[in-house]
Amino acid sequence: MLGGKALSSGSEKRSGLSEMKKKQGPPAQFITTQFNSILGWARKYSLFQYPFITACCGMEYMSAACAHFDLDRFGAGWTRFSPRQADMLLVVGTVTQKLAPVLRTVYEQMTDPKWVVAFGTCTVSGGIYDNYAVVQGIDLVIPVDVYIPGCPPRPETVLDGLLKLQEKIQHQEQEWRWKKRKP
């Protein structure tokens, strides 16, 4: 749930990468793999977050982002209050049925590459609210990359989740403009 196990950099377990390599020769493979890692490194250390704050977890988000437990030292300090300028959607707090269309709209307004972090038990699975008004987990509405459980999660848990997301970003196949796309 909280991301996969640690993978070494340049791993060949990603199927997209290995297919691409089969088409190209060895020198091209080396360049694309390295470029992939560099791009992953750059993206993971400059996350621009969009905090979609609704409820109590917002307080722990504020604590995690401020002086005691700093999010900025992980590169994720810049909060961009516009979905067009952000690449990480941090859904903090309960999402109700009334708010679900808004969440979907905000997610669709974000440009690729984008990642979604479900912060708090209410976003993971509805939390303690199993009733007519609450969406039982935001993965019913948008795809989620990292789930951070807790009610509310301690700031250390948030930082752990952020590190797992950074690992995931490092090892995933990156998209860049001059990559040959499969027809």
Partner: protein, 440 residues
């Protein structure tokens, strides 16, 4: 189609400050009808955090629904717990020991300080004063350290139980509390220096969104917002509960009812809360950290108790620290039907086991007599009231919360009419709207 879309004139602009907005403190939607920068009309739409609290509570036992009360006004969770516990105690007629009352007062005032710190930090941040936000968050961390040491959790604590509190104070409580008070006083002094005479802040808050006392009463405003208009009404003084009648504190009042007064009343209230905490902490008797003469491990104790009642204590896990049998008379009421028996007894005696079983078993537990009750405490925003109707079973028949910020936000449309768009932010910030309480 919302009301404002139907009523809008054709030559004006409609602006939506949507549910996901950094200054909207969670989720509220304000739709503005603008002529340039001036607001002609507005509509506030709430309900984006309606989590079905009241209906859920009808399906939970009185003991179990304590956790839902934490998440109402989530910046001052202990005050919600307190309100609920005291309502049930009023219905049952339970007497709480004095030590527990003082602990409740301290926790409640710490929550109130944390509430005011968060409210003003958000208001200042949205007006552009980011330093104020960071300083206040720093102070809040110290307060949350105290709360965490006593209750086990930083925010959603479920600490104040029916009949008393869950556990006694830690032996190091005084040191941690002193650090928190000193740091908070430092931060408050800094903020006074940064904002009180700051021309920019004054321009944004002085004489903006003025509320008259008559209007405030007609709207049902309570708490710091009402006191900023000059009306003296504080539930702690009008209908004293716990030990507030024995503590010395003042209730600050404002004069004009504008944003600046709401800010100032909150700052002064924090000073008064610190005063209350110091007095209450002095009156608490210091219980020395006792070393038990002969303490068994739980497995041994259970085995030994099969033959005869054991003498001596049980080494409970650190999670249960503070709730040992010898601490019980100070922290929980003596009436056994409303409190959980101490874990030492549950593990080792038959009576304890049966009491524990009967407390939690479906259909048993806390069963108030038929009837209804209303009780209110002074929350961070005003009068936080609980109205509970009981039908004699172990679940409430109806539980209704009198949310203070519901009435305060109802006046928002009137307050921002005729002002600029930029005035919405400090006005809304000074109202301290908390989504969990507003929408329940």
């Amino acid at each position: 189609m919302t009301r404002i879309q139907k009523e809008a004139r054709p030559d004006t602009m409609l602006l939506n400050m949507g549910p996901s907005h950094p200054a909207m403190h969670g989720t509220i939607r304000i739709m503005l009808e603008l002529d340039g920068e001036r607001i002609l009309n507005s509509e506030v739409e709430v309900g984006y955090l309606h989590r079905g609290f009241e209906k859920t509570c009808e399906n939970r036992t009185y003991f179990n629904l304590l956790i839902y009360t934490d998440r109402l006004n989530y910046v001052s969770p202990l005050i919600n717990n307190l309100g609920y516990a005291m309502t049930i105690e009023k219905m049952l007629g339970v007497e709480v020991p004095e030590r527990a009352q003082y602990i409740r007062v301290i926790m409640s005032e710490l929550s109130r300080i944390s509430d005011h710190l968060t409210c003003l930090a958000a208001m200042a941040m949205e007006s552009g004063a980011f330093t104020v936000f960071l300083y206040k968050m720093k102070a809040r961390e110290f307060i949350w350290d105290v709360i965490e040491q006593t209750t086990g959790a930083r925010m959603t604590t479920s600490y104040i139980r029916i009949g008393g509190v869950r556990a006694d104070l830690h032996a190091d409580f005084d040191t941690v509390l002193k650090t928190a008070i000193v740091e908070t006083r430092k931060v408050l002094k800094d903020i006074h220096g940064l904002l009180d005479k700051n021309k920019i802040f004054l321009n944004r808050t002085r004489d903006i969104a003025v509320m008259t006392p008559e209007d405030a009463l007609a709207f049902g405003w309570t708490g710091p917002c009402l006191r900023s208009t000059g009306v003296y009404y504080d539930v702690r003084k009008a209908h004293p509960y716990l030990t507030y009648d024995r503590l010395n504190f003042e209730v600050p009042l404002g004069e004009r009812g504008d944003n600046f007064d709401r800010y100032m009343v909150r700052m002064k209230e924090m000073d008064q809360s610190l005063r209350i905490i110091e007095q209450a902490a002095q009156r608490l008797q210091k219980t020395p950290a006792g070393v038990l003469a002969q303490a068994f491990e739980p497995a041994e104790a259970i085995k030994a108790s099969r033959l005869k009642r054991i003498k001596g204590g049980v080494n409970l896990s650190p999670n249960l620290e503070g709730s040992e049998r010898d601490k019980y008379p100070g922290i929980l009421s003596a009436d056994k039907s409303y409190v959980i028996p101490p874990k030492d007894d549950t593990y080792t005696t038959m009576e304890g086991l049966i009491s524990h079983f009967k407390f939690f078993m479906k259909g048993n537990g806390i069963r108030p007599p038929r009837g209804e009750v209303y009780f209110s405490v002074e929350g961070g925003n005003g009068e936080l009231g609980y109205y509970i109707v009981s039908d004699g079973s172990d679940r409430p028949f109806r539980l209704h919360l009198r949310a203070p910020c519901f009435h305060i936000v109802a006046a928002l449309e009137q307050l921002i009419r005729g002002r600029y768009v930029a005035d919405v932010i400090p006005t809304f910030g000074s109202m301290n709207m908390i989504g969990g309480e507003l929408d329940r």
